[in-house]
Subunit: 457 residues, 2 copies
C-alpha cells in the first residue's frame, strides 16, 4: 500500500470539519459516571461509541453490561500477519461542577480561538475520537493495516471498579500484542511525548465527629474539641516541613531514581517557570531535593481534594460543627500499592487522632502505579509517527496522573501499553473550562495514521 | 395591691394553653435574619411583635425601619414612681439547616413529651413570649406595676449591625433605670440562674487561594501547595498543645480570675460529667488549668464554625482545589475587643501564611464581652423572684455566649442589664431540634410576674 499513507493523510485533512462535528456530538452527552442522575446519559454514550465502531467496519461490537456502566467492545481482525493492538479508551467524564466557573456550558461544546471547550474534550473524548478518525481515514483509503480490538469503558473517572473483572473474564477476547492508551498528553504543543510511567492512586474519605449535634459555640466553646479543628490538625500533620508525607512507612517502597533517569527527565523542557504558568499558582511548592518533573512524575504525594464542615453559606452561624469531612488522596509511584497506603493512613490516624473525637476512614478507589519498557516495537512505531508529524523526537516522561488500566493490562493480560495522547497541560481537565487545542488534535490524528501504518510496514 | 400577686399567678396558671398557642404562632414565622429569602418573614414577625405589644396596652408601638430588619418599640409609663425597665428581646432566629437532622419541621412547632420543638423556641421567642405573658397576667389583674419600654430587634443572630446606631439616636426614648435581658438561660431545670458576665465575639471568614482553577491532582500534585492543606495548617497552628490560642497577644487583655470568683463559680453544679452529657462529645477538651465552667465562661476560645474546599459531593474527584474557606470565630472575655482580635488574627496570618498561596481575611460581626455588678436593685428583685418560684437562691454564672446588646446598654445608655432566661443547656439552640422545656417556661412566667411586682413593693 505505497500510497495509502498519503491518501489517508489527505482524507484526514479534507475531513477536519466533519471530524470536529463528530467530536462535538459525543461531548453533548453528559456522561458523568459518578452521578446517579446521569445513568441514562451513560447508556446513551455507550450506544454512541458502539455505533461509531460499527461505522468503522468493526465486528462483534457489543456493550457488555457491568454492575454500573457498560464496557463497549469491537474488533477488526482482517490484517493477517500484522500485530493486534488493543485500543483502550473511556467514554465517561468528571463532574462539571463548580458550574458557575464555566464560561460556556460544559455539555454545550463551543470553539473559542484555537480551542474546543467542553467537559471531557481532553479527558478523553477528544483522544478516543482521534483514534476513531485515524482508523476512519485508513478504512476509507484502502483498509486498516493492523488488527484492532477496542475496549472502551465508562467507569474510568470512578476508578474502573468493574474493569479488572471484565478483563479477567475475557482474556481470550482481549488477547493482543500490546495495548494503545491515548489517555495521556503532551508536554506542550510542539513537544510530542510518550509516557512510560504512571502514578497510582489511593483515595480516602476521612470523617471526624464529636458531639452528635452542632453545638452553640458560645455555650460550649472551651470544653469541646472542635471536629473541624481536629481534622485540620490531622491534615496538617500529614506533611513535614520539607514537604514529605508523614504517613508511617510511606516512602519504604518508593523506587529510588537512578542518575541516568534523572538526567533523562531533566531533558524535558518543563522547568519551574513552566509549572508556574500552567498552574497559575503564586509560587511552587514540593518535596525538597527534587525537580518539579520528578515531584509530579516520580515522587508520591498527598492532596486534599475536598473538605466540608459546619456552616458554609453566606453570613455567619456560631456553632461547633458535629463533624468534619475531607477527601484525601495519594498519588503513588512504583512500588507502592493502594492497600499498603490505606494501612499507613489508618496507622497514622490511630497514632495521632485524639480521644476527644471519633473518626472513620473510608477507602474509595485506588490503582497501582506502573512503569514500562521504553523500547519495544509499539513504542518505536509511535515514536516514529510523532517524529514524522512534529519533526522532533518525542520526549519520554513519567506521568503524574493515574491510568489504573495500564497496570491491569500488565498484570491480567501480560501486555505493555503504549501511552500517548494529544491533550496539553493547560487543558483544565477535571476542572472548569476543560478544552482541547484543535491544531494539536488534528496533528494527533495524522500521527495515529502513521502509527498504524508503521506497525505493518 | 395585696392580692394582685395571687391573682396574676392564678391568671398565668389558668392560661397555659393559650400562652402555648401564642408561642406556637410566632414560631411558625421563619424569621431567619441572615437569609435574604426570609425578608418578608422578618416583616411578618415584626408585625406580630407590634400587635402583641399593643394588646398589652403599650403606647407608641412602632416598627422602626433599619437598613435591614425593623426594631419594634413600645412603652407603658403609667406606673408613677416605679422604676422603668427596658426589656430587650430579638424576634430573629438562626438558620434551620441542616434540615435533614430535624425530627419535625423547624417552623412547624410541636410538643413531644415535656418539650416544645421549633427553631427559635429557646433562642429566644420563648423567652420574649414569657415576658409578654407575665405582663399580660399583670395587665389583666390590676395593672402593670412598673414602667416598661420594649426594644425588640430582628438582627441579633447576624450581630445586631444596626442596633448601636438605633440606641445612640434614641437615647431619650430608651432612657431607663436598668435593662432586663432574658436572652440567657438556666444551668438546669432546678437551678435558677442569673448571668453576670457574657463573652464577646469576633467572627471571621478566611479564604486561602492558590491556582485560579481546580487542578488535576495527578498532573500537578507535587508542585502546587494545596490550599485546603494550607488552610488546615493555618487552623492547626491556632492552638498550642495546651489548648491555648496562639494568636499573638490574644491573652494580653484577659482579666485574671480572682480566688473569690473561682470559688463562686465552683459552686455551680456543672462538672465534667455535666458537660459530657450536655454535649454528647466522646471526651472533654479545653485550656489546661481551668475548670469547664471557667473554660466556657471566663476564658476566651477560638472555634471553626464552617469549612469548605473542593469537591464534597458523593464519590470522588481528583483535584487540587483552587481555594479553601473557613469561618472562624473567637469568644472573648473582658477586656478583649473584637477589633484587637481581628488585628491579632491578621498578624498571625501575616506571620504564618506561606508565599505559595494568597489569603484574605474578612471581618464579620463582633461584640464586646461584658461583666456587671452582682448586687443592684434589679438583680435583687429578680433573684428574689426566682427564689420564690424555685425555692432556691439562684446561681450567679458567667455565660459563654455573646449578647452584644448588653455591652451597648452599658456604653450607650449607661445602664446595667439584669440577665436571665428560662432556656436549658440541652435546648439545641443554633442546632437541629431546638426545644424549650415547657414546665420550666411556665415557672419562668410566674417568676417574671414576681419580678415586676418585686420592683414596686
Amino acid at each position: 500500500m505505497p500510497n495509502q499513507r498519503d491518501a489517508a493523510i489527505q482524507y484526514a485533512r479534507k475531513n477536519k470539519e466533519k471530524f470536529l462535528s463528530c467530536l462535538k456530538e459525543v461531548l453533548c452527552i453528559p456522561s458523568v459516571s459518578t452521578e446517579p442522575a446521569h445513568l441514562s446519559d451513560m447508556r446513551h454514550a455507550a450506544d454512541w461509541v458502539a455505533t461509531r465502531l460499527r461505522a468503522l467496519g468493526m465486528q462483534k461490537v457489543q456493550a457488555f453490561a457491568t454492575p454500573q456502566h457498560p464496557i463497549v467492545y469491537g474488533e477488526f481482525l482482517g490484517a493477517a500477519g500484522a500485530p493486534t493492538v488493543l485500543i483502550y479508551s473511556h467514554y465517561d467524564v468528571q463532574p462539571a461542577d463548580p458550574l458557575d466557573l464555566w464560561k460556556s456550558g460544559p455539555f454545550d461544546p463551543i470553539v473559542r480561538g484555537e480551542n474546543l471547550y467542553g467537559r471531557g474534550v481532553s479527558d478523553m473524548k477528544g483522544q478516543m475520537t482521534a483514534v476513531m478518525k485515524a482508523v476512519e481515514a485508513l478504512y476509507f483509503t484502502g483498509g486498516i493495516p493492523v488488527n484492532l480490538k477496542w475496549l472502551i469503558e465508562g467507569e474510568e473517572e470512578i476508578g474502573s471498579p468493574n474493569l479488572a473483572d471484565f478483563i479477567s473474564s475475557h482474556k481470550n477476547l482481549l488477547a493482543c500484542d500490546f495495548a494503545f492508551n491515548p489517555d495521556s498528553g503532551m508536554i506542550g504543543k510542539n513537544e510530542p511525548t510518550i509516557t512510560y510511567a504512571l502514578r497510582g492512586l489511593a483515595y480516602f474519605e476521612l470523617r471526624v465527629s464529636g458531639p452528635p449535634n452542632d453545638l452553640h459555640s458560645g455555650v460550649f466553646g472551651g470544653v469541646v474539641h472542635n471536629p473541624a479543628i481536629v481534622l485540620a490538625e490531622l491534615i496538617a500533620g500529614m506533611h513535614d516541613s520539607k514537604g514529605r508525607v508523614t504517613l508511617p512507612g510511606f516512602y519504604d517502597k518508593v523506587r529510588k531514581l537512578s542518575k541516568e533517569e534523572r538526567n533523562e527527565l531533566a531533558r524535558i523542557p518543563s522547568d519551574e517557570q513552566y509549572y508556574l504558568e500552567k498552574t497559575g499558582a503564586p509560587a511552587l511548592y514540593g518535596e525538597q531535593g527534587y525537580t518539579p518533573n520528578e515531584c509530579t512524575g516520580a515522587r508520591p504525594t498527598l492532596d486534599v481534594n475536598g473538605m466540608l464542615s459546619g456552616f458554609t453559606g453566606p453570613g455567619s452561624k456560631t456553632i461547633i460543627p458535629a463533624s468534619a469531612m475531607a477527601k484525601i488522596s495519594c498519588r503513588l509511584v512504583p512500588d507502592q500499592t493502594p492497600g499498603e497506603v490505606y494501612e499507613q493512613m489508618k496507622r497514622y490516624l490511630e497514632e495521632k487522632a485524639p480521644k476527644t473525637v471519633r473518626w472513620e476512614l473510608m477507602e474509595m478507589h485506588g490503582g497501582n502505579p506502573s512503569i514500562s519498557d521504553r523500547d519495544n516495537p509499539g513504542v518505536r512505531a509511535f515514536a516514529d509517527a510523532l517524529e514524522t508529524v512534529w519533526g522532533a523526537r518525542p520526549y519520554f516522561k513519567r506521568e503524574g496522573g493515574s491510568i489504573p488500566v495500564v497496570g491491569m493490562m500488565q498484570s491480567l493480560l501480560g501486555v505493555e501499553s503504549v501511552i500517548g495522547g494529544f491533550g496539553l497541560p493547560d487543558d483544565n481537565f477535571h476542572a472548569p473550562n476543560e478544552k482541547l487545542h484543535l491544531p494539536t488534535w488534528y496533528r494527533g490524528i495524522e500521527a495515529l495514521v502513521h502509527f498504524f501504518l508503521n506497525l505493518n510496514p
